[in-house]
Amino acid sequence: MQVKTFKRGTHPPEFKELAADKKIEEIPLPENVFISLSQHIGAPCKPIVKPGDEVKTGQLIAEGEGFVTSQVHASLSGKVKKIDKYPSPIGTKPTMIQIESDGNDEPLQEWTEEDWHKLSIEEMKNRIAKAGIVGMGGAAFPTNVKLSPPEKKPIDTFIINGCECEPFLTADHRMMLENSDKLLEGTRIIMKILGAKRTIIGIEENKLDAIELLNKKTASESNISVQPVKTKYPQGAEKNLIDALLKRKVPAGGLPMDVGVVVNNVGTAIAVPQAVKTKKPLIERVVTVTGQGIKEPKNLRVRIGTPFKNLIEYCGGLTPDTKKIINGGPMMGIAQYTIDVPVIKGTSGVLALTEDITQKAKEFTCIRCGSCVETCPMGLVPTRLVRLIEFDKLNMAEEMGTMSCIECGSCAYVCPSNIPLVQRIKVGKQLINEKNN
């Protein structure tokens, strides 16, 4: 089968072998969970419980207002201990609800299955919203919103993003292997909701077993196809994946729906059938715990709100030369200063990187080698953007597309002068936003 890809990009070492063969394991219930009220893009939720309240697994404990928002549920049963600000893995300190486990994991209700074919589209969307499902690739965009494109933007193609192009991470890969039926069921549900004619599952070539398995399972369905894509970073970036699969360019500042496409991550699609069929909310997710600093890398199914510490301990703890703890992958993930931060809905991996891997070499001035230009998947000229930002020429930087940067990290990865290009561009985006407001 023909392998598709996008222009430019890079190929960092994969390090996937650390956890690729590890079956997903459940970890013991943590003593405490910290459930963040800002796990999604949009305004934070408001708690509807107070300290001292008893909660059951799956009980709604906070809800949001407005359109782009999401619900938050208790991920285990127990007592609400505190509602306070705690560090979150996205680097902020949002309000969180701390629940002390009673060890029983008592569910709110019996989660009985219904046949989703009988449900109306509105009802299905409603159930997805109620279950608090957000994009689980990292951006955490509320899924029900994504599945409700405006009428004048009809969706013809649904894409499952199974690229998992970030090095180290294997959670999506494992899920595709172990939960393929759920994935396909979710796919069918979403297709029905969107009214899309076809689905393409884009998977990087380095996950051959997943490609083969899904190919076999979809052989009888003509409207679902599996498309291998080249193992190249950032293949899984939404816009680049659409470009690779369909040759459609999402306009700058636009969304996939502008070109008739909706993209969902593997984890999101897998979470959908449960919500639609049983109304059971999203209270757990699969996280890859890996990196040279983790003694036994594993793929774990964990409750939302479990502190990183519990995950790391379950994997044998940290080696003493661990230098960085990262939420997500090494290219776009966020460095942590503590392992007390909890897993949130967007946490795809917990990495412990050692000194020798993350060693930042000395910074030189730009020698204009053009590597960043040849790498940038968005066709930007990072070196020039960075100079413009540094010298406060924000208008010109904006004109040259700074806001289109997806912060994938490719430019900084290849830069021989070790210039923190991405960080500078992030600062520049902030400054441009300030300037425009």
């Binding site: 600000k85 560090p87 680097g91 942590q336 200063y337 500078r424 992030k426 600062v427 902030q430 400054l431």
Partner: protein
Amino acid sequence: MNPILLAALSMGGIGLAFSILLTIANKKLKVEDDPKIAQVEDALPGVNCGACGYPGCAACAEALVKGDVGISICPVCDDDEREELANILGVELGEGKREVAVLFCQGGNDNAKVKADYEGISTCLAASFQSGGERACDYGCIGKGDCVSVCDFDAIHMGEQGLPVIDRQKCTACGACVEACPRDIIELHPIDRHVFVLCKNEDKGAAARKVCDRACIACKICEKFDDSGGFHVDNFLAKVDYDKYDKDYEKPTGKCPTNVIQLVGEKDEE
């Protein structure tokens, strides 16, 4: 013909021809401009030397009227011409109560706890995206000196403690540092104000104490001590009410257990 006469005639002829042409052109082709621009242009030297970076005095005048540049742009002008320009443009220096910038943090190297190492661009703004860099306090100074680098008046320096030190004499209250600080811990205050609560930490006492030795722990001792109601603790942070606070400013200092209430500047400052 006499050559002198001839010379005069031909020069006169050329001159006459062109001046007639120009006079007619001036009438027929006249376009109305902002009269202020013309005025400013007149006040400028009119040598069109281009030293200002604009392609001639007219362009420079336009920029001046628009307010894109200051009067000092023209290197050829003398003081008189500058004064004239200032009159036309209506630029005046407003006189008001002098203000100075005050830093509301004492979390220097000795006092602030460190939570992590930081690698990357050494600016406060960049560090603020990475959980705020080394120091543990979420409200205090990040210490990378963005305020120092934006100050055009050489009035802020990075002190030994890794905290910016403001020179009250040099400060012009331009507000650049206030804008630049991502933690909003620099404020402008009248120069005759001396008592400040030098902390912005709104965490509960225990949490605040954990991150800094000089954090307001909301103990309310200052409230009790100052009976005029000059201090009140709000959202776990003490604040001064300058309307109520009597000017006897040495009163509450020294009573604060974490020394966040401090005197800044001298009493006899202007």
